[in-house]
Amino acid sequence: MATEMAEAATRVVDLVVGVAGDTGVTPGIMTTGEMLTLAVSRVGYDIYTFQTNPAEIKGGQAWYQLRLSDQQLLSQGNDVNVLIAFDEEGFEKNEKVLADGGVLIYDASAYEPHPSREFRLVGVPMTKIAREQVRFPLAKNMVGLGAAAALVDLDLQVIRRMIEQKYAAKSMEIVEKNFACVELGANYVRSELGLSPIVRLKPIPRPERLVLSGNEAISLGALAAGCRFFAGYPITPASTILEFMMRELPRFGGVALQMEDEIAALASCIGASVAGKKAMTATSGPGLSLMVELLGLAVMAEVPVVVADIQRAGPSTGMPTKTEQSDLNLALYGGHGDAPRVVVAPSSVGDAFYTAIRAFNLAEYTQGPCILLSDANLANRKATVDRPDSQGVKIVNRLLAPESDERLPKPFPRYQITMSGISPYAVPGMKGTYFVATGLEHDEYGAPNYTPEVHTAMSHKRFRKLESAYANRNGDEWVSLYGARGEADLGVISWGSNEGVIREAVAQANAEGYKVAFAHVHVLNPLPEKELKAFISRVRRVMVAEINFAGQFAHLLAGRFKIDPIPLTKVSGTPFTPQEVLDGIRDAAA
């Protein structure tokens, strides 16, 4: 496994930069972070970001965290090495994450920090420079960006190109003013303060890579999978998928609709799929809750459809801007009656592209709903990813019946009982294969039928389809294994966006002498029984890590494999840090 190597590789550069402040006072705090991210990535470094938006509608404390390295990054990191804090509250709220001896870049015209520990203080009069030297006070954040660039020796021309991309369409004057701020910030650090860089981000020559957010990766994956119908309803943090699809799908001859609510959104996707198109909707918890009845319809009527649930902290409206992995139970069990469905989860930004494809493949293969469980953390954060290999990827289309001879009509067995449970589908428009898709229990021809025999046979069929999907996964990796091979003292199991963080922690733990293995599960239903059984049998104790209160995945595994896992849970609205997982491993191993 090549990845094991990467985990062990020593990093020459590994730096975490945090940007903090009140967006009402300093507009563009997120832009500061994003530009730094893009610039760093342009010169060839790996990036991995994490951000929290304020709860206020406008204004409020925001946080943008960028980790960068010359090696592959698996997590947002732990402590921050450089903190850019535009206001005092921004500093005080985040002081605790600044590493001992770290660098604090602050707006010296706004406040004087009173740190409780030893930091390197880099005071730059950002407001003053922007107002007095450039007469553009709005761009004080750009002074901060320049200061940071100087400290990491980043080529300012790369930043200039970012600024041009963003503002050139508006006006070149704005470009010039913004860049002037950047230059003045950099100069102030170099000349006035006479500081030399703490690292030098020399360009690394390598093939260009993408900088994507999780939601962008899901959207691109959907397009690659052949999604040609999308319907949604705005909701944080899923709206950017709706917006992406509204913008791009028409270019691919598809249709994207903003519907009146989530129920209508899923209903229209089901309709589009009945008409033969690959269809998807994207929502977050409250929307998924509303879709439950229609999920059951897709199961019963056997209609392929992908539902992306970008989880946020619940229950109810909860904390819309915070992350959580607490919709697993709803994804698995949301539906009255026995309503089996496929559930998959992307593990990283790069993986989100392939997971979207997997979701479509499984929905089309099983002719039923597939829920894709991402989360707010993955949705918003950016990471460098290799150009996805859209050619090499396998695309599955639903099994189609041959068009029949119109003059020899026979009833079309849309719900034919087969070994695999999969029955050939006919697309409206085809001749001779008329059928009625229905949410009533039905015989093979779709006629309502409430006999014990038919209900029993059809219940089996609906579950069997999922088993067939597992049996036919053909080398598609439903579980990724990391860490110790063979017998291990501890086996960590996780799902969703935690993969990278846990890989990092597990690598560290093994480096410290613990014997820890890690299984990351990509398909949550049907569970990859064989792989997990094998994993469980070779570890002394299982720990299940997830961002929710109840230990939802732990409970699922306990029931399925009759094990008593140690839960490692977190309910703070933020992702795990590698340190937290490492601490968990140490506790469990102790």
Binding site: V211, R251, V255, I263, Q391, E406, Y434
Partner: protein, 297 residues
């Protein structure tokens, strides 16, 4: 429930056309108005040579009337209660060449599903929605519906007659600016066939309120026979104010086309916008995707 097969004739002359009968027999009560509506719709379809069996799909909700999806011998989707309209919208926009018919009851359409109508109206998809209105919940055995008259004692609650004013579906549809609004009555099958044909032919969103007595739970044959009247000859269905006034006149059960207006369909607008977005350059989907991906470098 037995599955019987309707043998199909070859297409060709109208009289040789497919009879639009499904594989299964209706399960409705004797005398139910839905039979007459079903027949009138069948006649309409048979009389429209442009309607092809394989390109027609009926999307229906849940209710006695919702069973109709299986009785026309075309493609059908008998979905869940109240969601036929957004489901049908998905079908239509996914494949605009399909002839999409939506059917269901007054409870299905005006109660649980009522919120979807104005949003369909805003888009004006070229599809036809026929609401089988018996002013009662048939399938669930006689509870009052949103069109039940005030004071109606639902079968099961004789001591608690409805305190609610009935909805005025036609007034609502006109306020929503549905581009074709009509009412028909099961007891007038010829007009029904005629108006259903016009509704299907209308290029845009057509909604037909189809009055259909429920012989079992609210038998309105006698009552309605006295109330129905055809809209006058000189009635102008392009006058929205006049249509609203007519809709407010609930003493008479006016039959006919209350309102019609031609405006671009949603499919047309989408196609136009898509063409603009795609630009002139002929690109394969793969190539488009590659370029899109490249924009994230």
């Amino acid at each position: 429930m037995t599955t019987t097969v309707t043998t199909e004739k070859t297409t060709g002359q109208p009289e040789e056309r497919f009879d639009f009968k499904g594989m299964i027999e209706p399960v409705w009560c004797p005398g139910c108005g839905d039979f007459a509506l079903l027949n009138a719709i069948r006649s309409a379809l048979r009389q429209m040579p442009e309607v092809e069996r394989q390109n027609t799909i009926v999307i229906s909700g849940i209710g006695c009337s919702g069973r109709v999806a299986a009785y026309l011998g075309v493609y059908g989707f008998h979905g869940v209660h109240g969601r036929a309209l957004p489901t049908a919208l998905g079908v239509k926009e996914a494949n605009p060449s399909l002839n999409v018919l939506v059917m269901g009851g007054d409870g299905d359409g005006f109660s649980i599903g009522g919120g979807h109508i104005p949003h369909a109206a805003r888009r004006n998809p070229n599809m036809t929605y026929i609401v089988f209105d018996n002013e009662i919940y048939g399938l669930t055995k006689g509870q009052v519906s949103p069109t039940s008259p005030k004071g109606l004692a639902g079968k099961s609650t004789p001591e608690w007659p409805a305190l609610e004013e009935p909805l005025n579906p036609l007034a609502m549809l006109i306020a929503y600016n549905v581009s074709f609004v009509a009412r028909v009555y099961a007891g007038s099958p010829k007009t029904t066939t005629q108006i259903v044909k016009e509704a299907i032919a209308h290029p845009g969103f057509a909604v037909v309120q189809a009055m259909s007595p429920c012989t079992t739970f609210y038998n309105t044959y006698k009552l309605w026979a006295k109330q129905v009247r055809t809209l006058p000859e000189d009635y102008d269905p392009t006058d929205r104010m006049a249509a609203f006034a007519r809709a407010l006149d609930t003493e008479t059960m006016w039959l006919g086309i209350f309102y019609r207006e031609e405006r671009p369909t949603y499919e047309e607008m989408i196609a136009q916008q898509a063409a603009r977005l795609r630009g002139d350059e002929e690109l394969s989907d793969d190539e488009r995707l590659r370029r899109l991906i490249d924009s994230f470098v």
